[in-house]
């Protein structure tokens, strides 16, 4: 057992483990914020908003979010290096596995949300 501060930084650990969910959160923010604002402007007449533009924005943001998530899944060690996340050997499989699973779930969330753009009118209301 060693004492002393020679431990990986908690910031690195959080950034590495939560990289996938953070991308998912950013994706939701970038989908919902601009889409709802653009639709609100279109309805209030502040600006003319093309439905195609809104759909394209949703798909672009989804593609943009999916790429890093796939990289997280395939190259977790590279991401660990990027975030300077280093742990003892016995901790390594745990951290890698948690990070990859979280990225996989996040990818599922991103694709599910983004797929809606293929199915629905971008600004139609249900009532």
């Amino acid at each position: 057992m060693k004492s002393g501060p020679g431990d990986t930084s908690v910031l690195s650990a959080v950034a590495f483990l939560l990289a996938g969910p953070v991308i998912w959160a950013a994706h939701l923010l970038l989908l919902y914020g601009p889409q709802s604002a653009l639709c609100a402007f279109g309805q209030s007449g502040v600006a003319e908003v093309s439905g195609l533009f809104v759909t394209a924005q949703v798909l672009a943001v989804t593609a943009l979010a999916a790429v890093p998530l796939v990289v997280f899944l395939l190259r977790p060690i590279t991401i660990a290096r990027l975030f300077r996340f280093r742990v003892q050997d016995e901790e390594h499989p745990f951290s890698m596995s948690v990070m990859r699973w979280l990225s996989a779930l996040s990818l599922m969330g991103v694709l599910l949300a983004g797929a809606a753009a293929f199915l629905l009118d971008p600004c139609a209301q249900l009532r």
Binding site: M1, D7, Y32, C39, W101, A115, A116
Partner: protein
């Protein structure tokens, strides 16, 4: 601190007799009526859980009265107004006064035991949070007896709750009372985050942490980010009710939907805030009863983190019928479906663990409650997926189907695991265990009663019965189903009553039976008021199963910290990821100040509700005074040097900067403040999107000229520079810090000046906060700025006072580090606020 390698047991035996005497003396619980000054987690945790359970019983009585009213059509057992107050108090009490406090209480009680820590790192903060909750909660609940209880539903939607439609003080009790209790919950969350990450035993890395500790860590992190949204919402609604700032009034550019966004950004994660710790408890009980390690530990950790994260992306699924565009709804519908996956992972993991057991899954009362939880929660989850689908939600929104769904989720997901916990962990706190024979009666009455009460509600909902109606006409055909539901509620109540009888009959504080279930985790080590005799090195997730002679070695004091080397209360602080010992934390003992501070804080909030402003202000000042009295002794300084914790390992008793637990607590608080501010930014942009016509420059007076925000920003930057100068001017040990104190005072003046200039600039343009939603949002930025500035002024004067009495210097400096951290954060937040309020309208103009 140098790296030291410990080979096996660090201490030899027999230990000096004085060691144990020291531990008992230092950790002694105050006797008699002085028990209220206790801060030990075992004492305050028991008070906490006891009061939370009392609220559960009281809110349960309200539920039974409401069910009695609904048993037959056209009933007049309870009047409409009282019924409105009852369902509001039932929901509010269950969510705010029972569910969150109960799981927080379990964290306070069980976490230190599971982590073999002597206590959580901020025992007085725990005591303060608990007493504030007890006093504030009890006074809040009594409003139901005086016709003063809120009646707007537990979510208090405006415009119903605006002054125009709810003119009496009832809604204010909710806004100020609950806002205050949320602050208490945040204080508990700070304790749990820092406690879980920093007071684990040596060797208990993240991958060896008990699942309950993981779930409490995520629970507390979720509180940090979810609760600020509703705190901001309650502030804004109370300000609108009291001063007429129109955040939610459509005619002046406000929007009632803003409340819904903020409330549900808190309200949906709240469901998981309640569920995740309960799931953590189940993940501890199932392996014990199956006598095998949890199947899929990693996946459970993944599921907990993912659920915590995804739960923040679901808030709009409570707003499907508000007219938001269909595509937006689809994003949240997708997130609602996605969150079912991690929940499913946990359910399958528990079933797999039961199947993989070394022997047949042991059926105890706790196991029965776990099985009942699995059945009920899974049904609730399935109806959750149904209401996550927009077309179905349109049909059942605001009907009894939704009432059935969330009771299946919350009672199944939290109450049943809580009862399992009572039966499973009671031996830690009582020398007699709860009766297994009566326990089975309790379970079956509760299980059958619950399903008889709530399953028919799915049908009454599908038949169109709306929520919150106090009665209904006979011809609608809802009578039989309602009567069955009422009968079920009585059976459920009988089960809970039987539990209470058993509780009073058998539970007696005292030495516990030794590990009656054969569990593998550290809370079952022999313990006393000082927790375990020594703190072990942990090498597996179930150390009691895997580490030979662990119980004997810990009890004999062969592991770390077998005594009280500093002569006071202390525990080991370890690194957050790999749990390497870093230093010894010195903790305060019993005292009156947390109790008195809590009493006066509660009095301040409650008196504001009834508009006794002067007396409330006096109470507020007294609360601050007692907080300062308590914090004065919290920074003990480096005088004790390093101490030997065993095996020649010497650890310092004082550290500063990012290693210090106090620095961590301040960072957690900054996250809370940041989250509150982000909620404000969202509100600003949301209202601008809704009503750009009331925004400057076209719809409101011209913005102040750029010189005003520039001067304000300059003062803020100068303040930061003054704090940096104060750091350099800190005296050497034993010297007076007049120069550093002066620099701090300059920084405080800069901060106050920046706020005054910001306010004056807007005031001179003729903009009034009550003019429009724009005016309200502009001045709200200054309210938030002022809040942080007020905290900094108090902290700054406190720090300066310590400098002037030689209790702060270059080495003894935790207080200063915290001030500096918060100051720089406040400057960053305020500069951002200036850019938003002055830059954004110009940008979009």
């Amino acid at each position: 601190m140098t790296d030291q390698v410990i080979v096996q047991l660090p201490n030899s035996t027999p230990r000096p007799a004085r060691e144990l005497e020291d531990l008992e003396r230092v950790w002694a619980t105050p006797k008699g009526w002085r028990i209220v000054t206790a801060v030990n987690n075992t004492v305050v945790g028991l008070i906490y859980i006891g009061v939370a359970f009392l609220f559960f019983l009281m809110a349960g009585v309200l539920a039974i009265l409401m069910r009695t009213q609904l048993a037959v059509s056209g009933n007049d057992f309870i009047g409409q107004e009282l019924y409105n107050q009852m369902f509001t108090m039932h929901g509010t009490t269950m969510m705010f006064l029972f569910a969150v406090p109960a799981v927080e209480a379990l964290g306070v009680m069980l976490l230190p035991q599971m982590l073999a820590a002597r206590d959580l790192p901020f025992p007085r903060l725990s005591a303060y949070a608990i007493w504030a909750y007890v006093i504030g909660g009890l006074v809040f609940f009594t409003t139901i007896f005086y016709d003063l209880a809120p009646a707007g539903g537990w979510f208090m939607y405006p415009p119903l709750t605006l002054k125009e439609f709810s003119p009496a003080d009832n809604a204010d009790f909710w806004l100020l009372g609950i806002g205050f209790i949320e602050i208490s919950a945040i204080a508990g969350a700070v304790e749990i985050v820092v406690g879980t990450l920093r007071t684990r035993p040596p060797g208990m890395s993240l991958s060896k942490m008990p699942i309950f500790a993981w779930s409490m860590l995520i629970f507390a992190a979720m509180i940090m980010f979810a609760f600020p949204a509703v705190i901001l919402a309650t502030m804004m609604l109370e300000i609108e009710r009291s001063f007429g700032w129109p955040f939610f009034t459509a005619a002046l550019g406000g929007d009632a939907l803003l409340w819904q966004h903020l409330f549900w950004f808190f309200g949906h994660p709240e469901v998981y805030i309640i569920f995740l710790p309960a799931a953590g408890l189940v993940s501890m009980i199932v392996p014990t009863m199956a006598q095998t390690p949890l199947v899929g530990y990693r996946l459970i950790v993944v599921a907990l983190i993912a659920t915590g994260f995804f739960s923040f992306g679901l808030w709009v699924h409570h707003m499907f019928t508000t007219g938001i565009p269909a595509l937006s709804l689809a994003f949240f519908s997708a997130a609602s479906a996605a969150v079912a996956v991690p929940s499913g992972i946990q359910v399958f993991s528990w079933i797999a663990t039961m199947a993989a057991g070394r022997r047949r899954f042991r059926i105890t009362t706790a196991s029965l409650f776990v099985l009942g939880f699995l059945f009920i929660f899974t049904l609730g989850g399935l109806t959750g997926v149904m209401v996550a689908m927009v077309p179905f939600d349109y049909q059942v929104h605001d009907t009894y189907f939704v009432v059935a769904h969330f009771h299946y989720v919350l009672v199944g997901g939290m109450v049943f695991p809580l009862f399992a916990t009572f039966y499973h962990w009671m031996p830690l706190f009582s020398r007699r265990m709860l009766s297994e024979r009566l326990g089975r009666w309790v379970f079956w009455l509760m299980f059958l009663g619950f399903n008889i009460a709530f399953f028919p509600m799915h049908l009454t909902g599908l038949l169109g019965m709306p929520r919150r109606v106090w009665t209904y006409p006979a011809e609608l055909g809802w009578d039989t189903l309602n009567l069955v539901s009422t009968a079920g509620s009585y059976i459920l109540g009988a089960g809970i009553l039987l539990f209470v009888i058993d509780l009073f009959r058998t539970v007696r504080p005292g030495p516990k039976p030794e590990n009656p279930w054969g569990a593998g985790t550290l809370e079952w080590l022999p313990s006393d008021v000082y927790a375990t005799r020594s703190i072990p090195l942990v090498t597996s997730r179930e150390p009691l199963w895997d580490q030979e002679n662990l119980v004997e070695d810990v009890q004999a004091g062969r592991w770390f910290l077998p005594g009280a080397p500093t002569g006071g209360r202390e525990t080991i602080v370890t690194s957050p990821v790999e749990a390497r010992p870093q230093y010894i934390i010195q903790m305060p003992g019993p005292g009156w100040s947390p109790l008195l501070a809590a009493m006066f804080t509660a009095a301040c909030f409650l008196l504001l509700t009834v508009k006794l402003v002067m007396i409330a202000a006096v109470c507020g000042v007294l609360a601050i005074v007692f907080c300062l009295v308590w914090t004065w002794s919290l920074d003990p300084g480096p005088a004790k040097g390093s101490v030997d914790i065993g095996g020649g390992m010497k650890l310092p008793t004082y550290v500063t900067g990012p290693t210090s637990h106090s620095w961590w607590a301040m960072v957690v608080l900054m996250f809370v403040a940041g989250s509150l501010y982000l909620s404000y930014v969202f509100s600003y942009l949301f209202l601008w999107t809704v009503s750009p016509d009331v925004w400057a420059p076209a719809g409101a007076p011209q913005l102040p000229s750029p010189g005003w925000p520039a001067l304000s920003a300059l003062l803020l930057v100068c303040g930061s520079a003054a704090i940096m100068a104060a750091r350099r001017l800190l005296p050497s040990p034993g010297n007076l810090g007049t120069a550093a104190a002066a620099a701090i005072l300059v920084a405080l003046l800069c901060m106050s000046g920046a706020l005054a200039i910001e306010l004056l600039g807007h005031w001179r343009t003729g903009l009034q906060p009550s003019d429009s939603a724009y005016g309200a949002m502009v001045y709200m930025a200054s309210v938030l700025f002022g809040q942080v500035a007020a905290a900094l002024v108090i902290m700054g004067l406190f720090t300066a006072a310590r400098l002037l009495v030689r209790r702060l210097d270059r080495e003894w400096r935790v207080t200063f580090d915290n001030l500096a951290l918060l100051y720089h954060y406040a400057v960053f937040q305020s500069l951002f606020g200036l850019a938003l309020v002055h830059g954004y309208p110009r940008l979009v103009a």
